[in-house]
């Protein structure tokens, strides 16, 4: 695993893996199958979703009702902050200063666009034919599913092959497009009356302004921190401010966080590095809350089941097509089987769906969230089966 890979997606090594002893050294051989990672074959980045989403579903109103709807509503702010943290991570990863990075970003954007287009188009056709009573505009529902499907993770590390290293960067960068388009979709879905796209785009710019304003304030604070503890407080406060302000205004904390992260990586100084290091410490509880809330918010309705299976299939086809096309169009990519590396969905799809569900609290959007959650879990399982061809380490 490369140094850059350690902080990709939700921040590299998971707390669970850190708690696990090294492979096969300290445990008796007969205990090895009990190790979650070894038993499930899960990579660090996918273990949290597989573990915490079912826990959330079990605690949620659909099962034990420990997390009641009222309790879930109290967690909205925490989820907004978690979304902001994810946005910051993506923004920090968006480093476009070298030609190679720009090429990788173009390839990632192309791959994400292909995925969004194919999945959205397929669901637009299906939902129009089904007349499914979701209570949501068919086009926006298809777009939401497409956006959630376009997020990806680089899957299981294969020993540092060239393709996997490229896929890691692509997986980071292909989140940018769904976050930005999702910011527009959030505004359009959350409006009480139909809103034209240009007006929603105007709101997107306001979200970016929030990110710039709070990000600038944070940058000034980070530079003046006298100690690491003080800086940690500043970072937590800025994160809460980004998530809280965007959530309060009904805007996307992901977009605001993305803008702030981008700003910190562009501004002079070491803001991006210190934020990345400190966020890795606070991200785990946030992500756990996000996943548990997502699981608890699931409603296993007939509509959700009908949406789930096609979503898994269409996403697989779209990811393979996107990876295939990006490899051939973008000369920077010399690796093969890029699409196969991107089958694992990661967490951003769930985060995006949860955010949309918090903006539009209808049974239809709950079905969309449930479908995305189920498809994410199925996608992780699929990534274990459809392993890319082994390559020698680069």
């Amino acid at each position: 695993m490369s140094a850059r890979e350690e902080w990709r997606e939700i921040g590299g090594r998971d707390v669970l893996d850190a708690a696990l002893p090294p492979h096969g050294r300290t445990l008796p051989a007969w205990l090895l199958p009990l190790r979650t990672r070894a038993a499930l074959g899960l990579a660090p980045v996918i273990a949290p979703a597989v573990l915490f989403v079912p826990i959330g579903a079990a605690l949620g109103p659909a099962a034990l009702n420990v997390l009641t709807p009222v309790a879930l509503s109290y967690l909205d702010t925490v989820v907004a902050i978690a979304l902001a943290a994810l946005g910051v991570f993506v923004g920090l990863a968006l480093d476009l200063r070298s030609a190679r990075e720009r090429g990788l970003f173009a390839a990632a954007a192309l791959e994400a666009a292909v995925t969004v287009t194919l999945v959205s188009g397929a669901f637009w056709y299906l939902l129009s034919a089904w007349q499914m009573p979701l209570g949501l505009p068919v086009g926006l529902t298809g777009l939401a599913l497409g956006l959630c499907a376009s997020a990806s993770s680089a899957g299981i590390p294969d020993g540092g092959s060239a393709t996997h290293l490229v896929a890691t960067r692509i997986a980071d960068l292909d989140d940018v497009l769904p976050i930005v388009v999702g910011g527009i979709a959030v505004v359009m879905l959350g409006a009480s009356e139909p809103m034209p796209v240009w007006q929603a785009t105007g709101w997107l710019f306001r979200t970016l302004l929030i990110g710039i304003a709070v990000g600038t304030a944070g940058w000034l604070l980070f530079e003046r921190a006298h100690s690491r503890a003080e800086r940690n407080v500043f970072i937590a406060g800025i994160l809460a401010l980004i998530g809280g302000a965007a959530g309060f205004l009904g805007l996307s904390p992901l977009v605001a966080g993305l803008m702030a992260g981008l700003l910190w990586s562009w501004l002079p100084g070491h803001a991006d590095r210190v934020v990345r290091e400190d966020l890795e410490r606070v991200q785990h509880p946030l992500i756990v809350v996000l996943l548990i809330v997502a699981g608890a918010s699931c409603v296993f309705s007939r509509e959700a089941i009908w949406l789930c299976a096609p979503l898994v299939l269409f996403r697989l086809a779209a990811k393979l097509a996107g990876g295939w096309l990006a490899t051939r169009v973008q000369p920077v990519l010399t690796a093969g089987e890029l699409g196969t590396h991107l089958i694992a969905p990661g967490l951003l799809g769930i985060a995006l769906a949860l955010h949309l569900q918090q903006v539009v609290r209808t049974t239809g959007m709950a079905a969309v969230l449930t479908a995305v959650v189920l498809a994410t879990l199925a996608g992780e399982a699929l990534a274990l089966v459809l392993r890319p061809t082994e390559e020698p380490p680069s």
Partner: protein, 460 residues
């Protein structure tokens, strides 16, 4: 040894082709299914089928209103209030000029008596100037003379004598629970042409407290904002209540509560006009900071010899009456006005950064007069130059810049009519009271400015 044949297509391409093929097949197969439920329109652009369905719903609603008209039309009347006669003066926002006719829908509660809810601020000074017209929803108005039988000044309910006619039996909505929402109710709006029934959509209905009533009223949304005073019916024909307003928002006075009040009026029970002998004012930021409480009614003046003289102090903030929260001076006034004289109210007051309960016996409403005695002097440290004001206290003739008095907002011409328990204080009284106040503490003055009582917090 023969080498393995290299496939024409790479593994990725083959996997892609297979996945796309399967996806297309699945897409085409799944598209043949139809959900049995009708699709719900989700945007402002309704589909043709949805529009047709909505038309049917509107037709159903129209039919229900028409049926309701035939059932309740005999109970509805239009009471015309003419301000030209010395009968009714309508005050408050949206006041009509004297002489402009005001048509109010009324509900017949007896063969010769109807109840009407006069809008906020309206007052009946004499039982004259009303004309009532029996009307069906389609029949033209036929004016006839009428008189006000009884009028609850606080709540605005008036019983009006109307030409006798057989009143149909109405079913009443039981209970005071919120209306079923979202849904429709039917309001009877009055006009010079008669009473007309109109459906109003109620998106949400919640209980809302009103100082005029012990029972919470029910919000009905802004759709009924123009129908204050109108009788309200449910689609099943039962009478739900009368529309009134709570802090400018329309609210339903439930039928059960209304009828209890009507019975009281019909029995001839005197309508309460209680009074505490105090003047109150709303809390501004300065008073909030001085008193240490955010809501309530600040006591600005206490009438000498009044019922509150022994219990209340200047600067007290009344926050509740009999445990019911009081948010403003108007709420306190209305709550006291509807209390029968002789009744003792438990006032919760905020005083010296603590809460206390003060029992005060309500008296019949009279015109209060603050007694005072003259004096004269000046005090430089306080920042006030005063002179004796005959019968009231001390009049401020000059306020020194930067002084405590200037910071408290006192002006030339203000009359200091009370300090603590001292009515009509002299200038020496004011200076002595200020001198005895601890540094940083607050001294409350009851001041008369432009003939209106005003509470001033003077910080030492």
């Amino acid at each position: 040894m023969a080498s393995r044949a290299r496939p024409i297509l790479s593994r990725e391409t083959r996997l892609l082709a297979a996945t796309i093929g399967v996806s297309l097949v699945v897409l085409l197969v799944l598209a043949r299914f139809r959900f049995p439920d009708a699709a719900t329109p989700s945007s402002g652009q309704t589909q043709p089928l949805s529009r047709l369905a909505a038309r049917a719903a509107f037709d159903d609603l129209s039919l229900a209103v028409r049926e309701l008209s035939s059932r309740v039309g005999g109970s509805l009347l239009v009471v015309r209030v003419t301000g030209a006669s010395p009968g009714i003066v309508r005050a408050g926002p949206g006041a009509r000029p004297l002489g402009a006719p005001l048509a109010l829908a009324a509900l017949r509660v007896r063969d010769d008596t109807a109840v009407v809810l006069l809008p906020d601020g309206a007052q009946v000074e004499a039982p004259a100037g009303l004309t009532a017209a029996a009307s069906g929803t389609a029949a033209p108005t036929i004016p006839g003379a009428s008189t006000v039988v009884a009028h609850d000044l606080v709540r605005g309910i008036a019983l009006v004598r109307v030409p006798a006619a057989a009143a149909p039996v109405l079913s009443m909505r039981d209970g005071v629970e919120p209306l079923i929402a979202p849904g429709y109710v039917v309001v009877a709006e009055g006009s010079v042409a008669g009473a007309a029934l109109r459906p109003v959509f109620v998106g949400r209905s919640d209980a809302v407290a009103d100082p005029r009533w012990d029972t919470p009223l029910l919000t009905v949304g802004r759709g009924a904002a123009g129908d204050i005073g109108a009788p309200v019916f449910l689609l099943d024909g039962s009478f739900a209540g009368l529309l009134t307003s709570v802090e400018g928002e329309p609210a339903l006075l439930p039928a059960q509560v209304l009828m209890a009040a009507v019975d009281q009026l019909l029995r001839g029970a005197p309508t309460a006009t209680g009074d505490l002998g105090i003047s109150t004012q709303a809390l501004d930021p300065a008073l909030m900071a001085a008193a240490g409480v955010g809501t309530g009614a600040a006591v600005a003046a206490i009438e000498s010899g009044g019922p509150a003289e022994s219990g209340l102090r200047l600067g007290d903030v009344v926050t509740a009456v009999n445990g019911q929260a009081v948010g403003s001076p108007d709420a306190l006034r209305l709550r006291v006005m509807r209390t029968r004289p002789g009744t003792t109210l438990a006032l919760t007051v905020w005083r010296d950064n603590g809460s206390a309960t003060v029992p005060v016996t309500v008296r019949a409403r009279t015109v209060a007069a603050v007694q005072s005695r003259p004096s004269a002097a000046g005090d430089a440290s306080l920042g006030l130059i005063m002179r004796a004001a005959a019968g009231t206290g001390s009049e401020v003739t000059r306020v020194l810049d930067g002084s405590a008095a200037a910071q408290a907002g006192l002006r030339s011409g203000d009359e200091i009519v009370r300090i603590g328990k001292t009515a009509a204080p002299t200038a020496a009284d004011v200076s002595a009271a200020f001198a005895q106040t601890r540094p940083g503490a607050v001294l409350f003055l009851s001041v008369r400015r432009d003939r209106q009582p005003l509470l001033v917090a003077l910080r030492r």
